[in-house]
């Protein structure tokens, strides 16, 4: 093989090995291709999970079922294995399926204290919520100093106070609620009053007097509304909603929004779990129409919003949407590598004090060349036209093209854009260069952008301290026509309510932006994070001046213990406009605390008791009974934050336990090895009993009682005595057991210590040598078995007579003094006067008894069993006696 080919193959192998660090993910029922140079074969080690094949240097992997498996790839350089994971697809839940109620129970809450230095505003926010299945109760209070359009000072107030009781069929909210009824009635506005939903009926009544911008609460004059709606379900997906609302605005806002009633009919459709659609037709002082919807699936994303409201259409003044508005955001994955997106935004304000028509559109194609590189190109058009107040029409056409490189630790991109100014504007070239890198806990990024013929917000004037700076910064951050159009839509309310002058758009000949950031994040539990950012924007204005904004920001956040978070930032903001430079420090601090319980006095809920006993369960029954020995002083933990201890009866209890599933765990401590005979930790609902059984890992003595032939002796009593410390004679009888068929015996459940084990002589049947019986001292340790063995000699003998036939007396007579031999053991004995002989203390086996008569050997074979045996009448006939 040529050297360069080896290097190539080695590189491919290294690439695969590097991928092997993290399992390769292949979607369920999806197929991916992996280029592996020189791959000749591939196979899966679990074909039920994944299937693999290879050809022409391409490895194809199919995810067949959720799970993990390895595939083996064969190349000329060797064999490599790659771990592949097929993720579990989203669960398909049968229609109407709902999880059990008790699984969704919680008490949660949060408190936040936030301070912003410019404008100086202190905000206290408290939210407490108790969830019990499909029901919940929630309390929210926000306290802040509010700014109004009429003055530069603020007053302490409560911009949001709410108490909500929600049940499956009823939802009742007192005081404030963010009402999102329909686009032509009340759409995402805070209404202070009373709110009720009962079945298909919904009522909202009260007034609104708060507007918000970038976290700032701004007080407005009271605008009153009351309305009722009725929902008609057509089927599971479709419904109609009939609405009747009345609006009453203060005299100062009559030019913004008219008073009167609105009746509307809204049609809603739910597109399974992929999206929704709404269309509404309303009648007031004119005919209004609104529609909105979203759709998402694996390839497509569409979000659209259309609204047409005549100038005199009755509404709350804080609702600034009078005119014609449309927005569309769509994207589609055309192939595995090609991705297209389209944005369209139209705002046509039709109000006495604001008449503007803004239109932006852009389309972009992204092509992914490989895992790291991608290119993009497209076009964009924007037009901003303000008639009231009068302003020039500003239009531009852009042709962007760019490329990106992105890997795990490094990324960079370059974007070029040809900008063609319309309506007399010039043309030019824009470009953006960005980069990022990360290593360990550090991240660094940077950007440089040069734009020409840039639509920007004209100078904004506001009496509210800090609001103008906030608007300036927001205007600088809006770098694209789309972002500028969004900003105009979001800030129109400020000028309508008199907080600022009217916004117009100017065309800046050029703008240069530069930013850099360095971030560090701790991998420890405190999640400490530090960010340092620098941003400089230099906008060349039409008047020949430059607007320069420079900010340097240091941000810090940290988790304090497990329930508190601290977020703080300090920034220096320097602006230069018309040759005047001002430098201002900005501070903001936020302290957040999370609650895991809520006061029952504020949010009443279902509570109960979890109780039980901790007991010694020496027999491992796993069930508590009243006579069970109690274990006192044991710590029991509820959800790892409440602690109780067992009393002398082994009883513990937790009272006022909120509804839901809880974790209860016994924390018994002992030097002696033990185990729980019940689950610990255990899960429990309220009003349940959880008992914990404790057993100690005891020792045991087991063994065998055998005879000298190795056979077990059954039915013999074995006695166990516990040795008293220091006095063997005071041994206490502990237990007796009988040996089994094979001579086995066992004493289980023994506490550590010394024991004496002995056989009981009385229980032996006859035939054993009981004089030799001795006990054995055995030491038992926790969880350790000790084994022993007893051997008892069985008594066996062979006896008989040596006889001969006496011809004289014609009868058999015993022969005395004859030598009888036991050949195997070379034993000899002589017959007594009666001719009798005996061999004692014989082992199990077969023996040969022999005598000699007339020079001949006379023998007899005898087998002794394993058990005790006294074989008699083993007579030997010596022949005839003359």
């Amino acid at each position: 093989m040529k050297p360069y080919l080896r290097i190539l193959l080695l590189g491919a192998a290294c690439a695969i090995a590097a991928q092997g660090e993290a399992p390769l993910s292949v979607g369920y029922q999806k197929r991916i291709q992996l280029p592996v140079a020189g791959a000749t074969a591939a196979y899966s080690l679990d074909s039920n999970i994944v299937e693999a094949s290879a050809g022409n240097g391409i490895v194809e992997i199919l995810g067949k079922a959720p799970g993990s498996a390895n595939i083996v790839i064969v190349t000329p350089a060797g064999v490599q294995s790659v771990a592949v994971t097929v993720p579990v697809p989203p669960p398909v839940v049968p229609p109407g399926f709902e999880p059990p109620e008790h699984l969704n129970a919680a008490e949660t809450g949060s408190y936040e204290l936030r301070y912003n230095s410019d404008p100086s505003q202190v905000t206290n926010s408290v939210e407490l919520k108790r969830t019990e299945g499909k029901s919940f109760t929630r309390m929210q209070v926000v306290n802040a100093n509010l700014f109004s359009a009429n003055g530069s000072t603020s007053a302490v107030s409560f911009p949001f106070v709410a108490y909500q009781i929600s049940r499956p069929d009823t939802d009742m909210t007192f005081i404030d609620k963010n009402v999102g009824n329909t686009p032509l009635t009340v759409d995402g506005l805070i209404v202070r009053g009373f709110h009720l939903r009962q079945g298909p009926w919904e009522f909202h009544g009260g007034f609104t007097s708060i507007a918000t911008f970038q976290g700032l609460f701004l007080a407005t004059d009271r605008e009153y509304t009351a309305g009722v709606s009725r929902l008609f379900k057509l089927d599971d997906a479709d419904s109609l909603q009939l609405n009747t609302y009345y609006f009453q605005n203060p005299e100062t806002q009559r030019l913004v929004a008219g008073n009167g009633a609105v009746s509307s009919l809204a049609y809603r459709r739910k597109l399974s779990d992929k999206g929704n659609f709404l269309a509404e037709l309303g009648l007031s002082h004119g005919l209004g129409f609104a529609s909105r919807g979203t759709y998402d699936d694996k390839r497509n994303h569409i979000a659209g919003d259309v609204r047409i409201e005549p100038r005199n259409f009755a509404s709350l003044a804080v609702n600034n949407q009078h005119g014609t508005f449309a927005a569309l955001n769509a994207s589609r994955k055309l192939s595995e590598r090609l991705y297209a997106s389209l944005d369209l935004n139209q705002s046509g304000y039709n109000l006495p004090t604001l008449s503007q028509s803004n239109f932006t559109t852009s389309s972009l194609l992204h092509f992914k060349i490989n895992r790291y590189f991608s290119v993009n190109s497209g076009s964009a058009y924007s037009s901003f036209q303000s008639r009231t107040p009068a302003g020039p029409r500003i239009g531009s056409f852009n042709l962007p093209v760019g490329f990106d490189y992105s890997s795990r630790h490094f990324g960079t991109g370059f974007q070029y854009q040809r900008t063609i100014g319309l309506d007399g504007g010039g043309s030019g070239n824009d470009f953006t260069l960005n980069g990022r890198a990360s290593a360990g806990s550090f991240q660094v990024s940077g950007l440089y952008r040069h734009d020409v013929q840039v639509p920007t917000l004209a100078a904004i004037f506001s009496q509210i301290p800090g609001l103008q700076d906030a608007l300036d910064r927001a205007g600088i951050v809006a770098t694209s026509p789309e972002q500028l159009a969004d900003l105009l839509r979001n800030t129109a309310i400020l000028q309508l309510l008199g907080f600022t002058n009217a916004f117009t758009v100017n065309l800046a000949p050029s703008r240069n932006d530069m930013s850099a950031s360095l971030g560090w994040i701790s991998r420890r539990q405190n999640r400490r994070k530090i960010d340092v950012t620098y941003f400089n924007s230099n906008t060349q204005l039409l008047q020949g001046n430059n607007f320069i904004l420079t900010t340097a920001t240091l941000s810090y956040s940290q988790r304090l213990h497990s329930s508190n978070d601290l977020v703080a930032s300090a920034a220096m903001v320097r602006t230069t406009s018309f040759g005047v430079t001002t430098t201002k420090p900005l501070f903001s601090v936020s302290l957040q605390h999370r609650f895991y319980t809520v006061p029952g006095m504020l949010l009443p809920g279902r509570h109960g008791v979890i109780e039980g006993h901790i007991f010694r369960d020496d027999d491992s029954h796993g069930l508590y009974y009243p006579q069970a020995p109690a274990v006192a002083g044991v710590e029991v933990r509820l959800d790892d934050n409440r602690v109780a201890h067992t009393d002398a009866r082994g009883y513990y209890s937790f009272h006022h336990v909120p509804f839901g599933v809880h974790r209860v765990e016994a924390k018994y401590q002992s030097d002696e090895p033990f185990f729980y005979t019940t689950d610990s930790p255990a899960t429990a609902d309220i009003n349940s009993t959880i008992d914990f059984g404790i057993n100690f890992a005891k020792g045991q003595i087991f063994g065998y009682l055998l005879n000298d032939a190795g056979s077990g002796i059954s039915g013999i009593t074995i006695e166990l005595r516990k040795a008293a410390p220091g006095a063997a004679q005071d041994e206490k009888l502990a237990r007796r057991v009988s040996t089994g068929e094979n001579g086995k015996f066992a004493f289980t459940g023994l506490a550590p210590g010394d024991y004496t084990v002995a056989t009981l002589a009385d229980s032996f049947p006859s035939g054993y040598a009981l004089a030799d019986l001795t006990g054995q001292t055995i030491t038992v340790e926790s969880g350790k078995p000790a084994s022993t063995q007893f051997r008892v000699r069985a008594l066996r003998s062979i006896a008989g007579k040596v006889l001969a036939y006496d011809k004289a007396s014609l009868q058999t007579v015993p022969l005395a003094g004859i030598t009888v031999r036991l050949k195997e053991l070379s034993l000899e004995t002589r017959t007594g006067p009666t001719g009798a002989y005996i061999f004692r203390n014989l082992a199990y086996g077969t023996y040969t008894i022999a005598i000699e008569s007339d020079g001949k050997e006379i023998t007899r074979s005898v087998t002794l069993p394993a058990e005790p045996a006294n074989l008699r009448d083993i007579d030997l006939n010596a022949g005839k006696l003359f």
Partner: protein, 310 residues
């Protein structure tokens, strides 16, 4: 104490699985809940059928959660899950529910016991609870000491086990030991039936397998080509290797492959893995790669063989 992670292999209750194996040997099963049916063959319960001449009587509690079943075509009994693979650490506890299904026309009673499974000289043996140091079986707590399973019914029994702080044991069997003598149809001696579920524990990362040489037996007129390899578990933890034998031609292309029947290897155990390739290979030289995956690791060894011209 924390609970162990448990991977359960479900045993089927179909009459077709009624077969018997010696104690300690895992018998094959045709249907597992998981698609990988071949795994089931290695995960069957240990079905101990012992001949006895006298019936033992034990106090039997009525079956809990008893549910009537439809009579099967052939009488059978089954225990599910057959194998439980628990993963955790020393000191943790495990509670497992075992379901016994009686598809016979007789009420059956069982006493419940746990025994440690140890490996001696490469072979498994069951040891009574407590007779081995740091016995896991000695910590077994059954929700019932004995159970009566009525005809065509099932019963559930919980067993709780605690891993001692130190132990070399990695497997336990929970045994439903029959106490009824089953009458035989031909008047011969009666029998008792016992079923057991194997529970294994992986407590550390020390999983090591030692493969031996790959052996290839060429196809003959009466047998397929077979590929076999002995593997020993030299680590301290159980392993369930799943493997594939890939046959490569001289160009490195895949000529055929066959799956090894998975076998569970307890620490110290040594078993032969074998696979059959039913296809015909053209004459020539071949390489065979035997690859196994276990506990996220891969093990590959290689052998060579020739297919002669006929």
């Amino acid at each position: 104490m924390k609970a162990l992670k448990v991977f359960v292999a479900q045993a089927p209750g179909s009459p077709a699985r009624a077969g018997f194996a010696r104690g300690g040997v895992e018998a094959p099963s045709p249907a597992m809940k998981r698609a990988k049916g071949f795994v089931a063959r290695a995960l069957l319960p240990v079905l101990c059928l012992s001949i006895c001449v006298s019936a033992q009587t034990a106090p039997a509690a009525p079956a809990q959660n008893a549910a009537p079943l439809r009579p099967a075509d052939k009488p059978s009994i089954s225990l599910s899950p057959a194998v439980v693979m628990a993963k955790g650490s020393f000191g943790q506890g495990l509670t497992q529910t075992l379901y016994f299904t009686n598809q016979t026309g007789r009420d059956l009673t069982f006493e419940l016991v746990a025994e440690d499974v140890i490996v001696k000289d490469g072979k498994r043996s069951f040891v009574l609870a407590g007779e081995t140091p740091d016995s896991i079986a000695a910590t077994a707590v059954f929700s019932q000491k004995a159970v009566l399973v009525k005809a065509y019914s099932s019963a559930a029994v919980d067993v709780r086990l605690t891993i001692p702080a130190r132990t070399s044991i990695r497997a336990v069997v929970a045994i439903f030991r029959g106490t009824d003598v089953l009458p035989s149809s031909n008047g011969s001696v009666g029998m008792t039936a016992s079923l057991s579920a194997l529970i294994t524990f992986n407590l550390t990362d020390n999983v090591k397998l030692q493969p031996e040489a790959v052996r290839v037996t060429p196809a003959s007129e009466s047998a397929n080509m077979s590929i076999s390899q002995w593997i020993a578990n030299t680590g301290t933890e159980p392993a369930l290797p799943e493997g594939t034998a890939a046959v490569l031609n001289t160009g490195g292309a895949l000529a055929g492959k066959a799956a090894f029947a998975p076998l569970r290897l307890l620490p110290g155990e040594r078993l032969e893995f074998s696979a059959e390739y039913p296809g015909d290979l053209p004459p020539g030289s071949y390489r065979v790669l035997c690859s196994y995956q276990f506990e996220g690791k891969t093990l590959t060894s290689e052998g060579k063989f020739d297919v002669p011209k006929k």
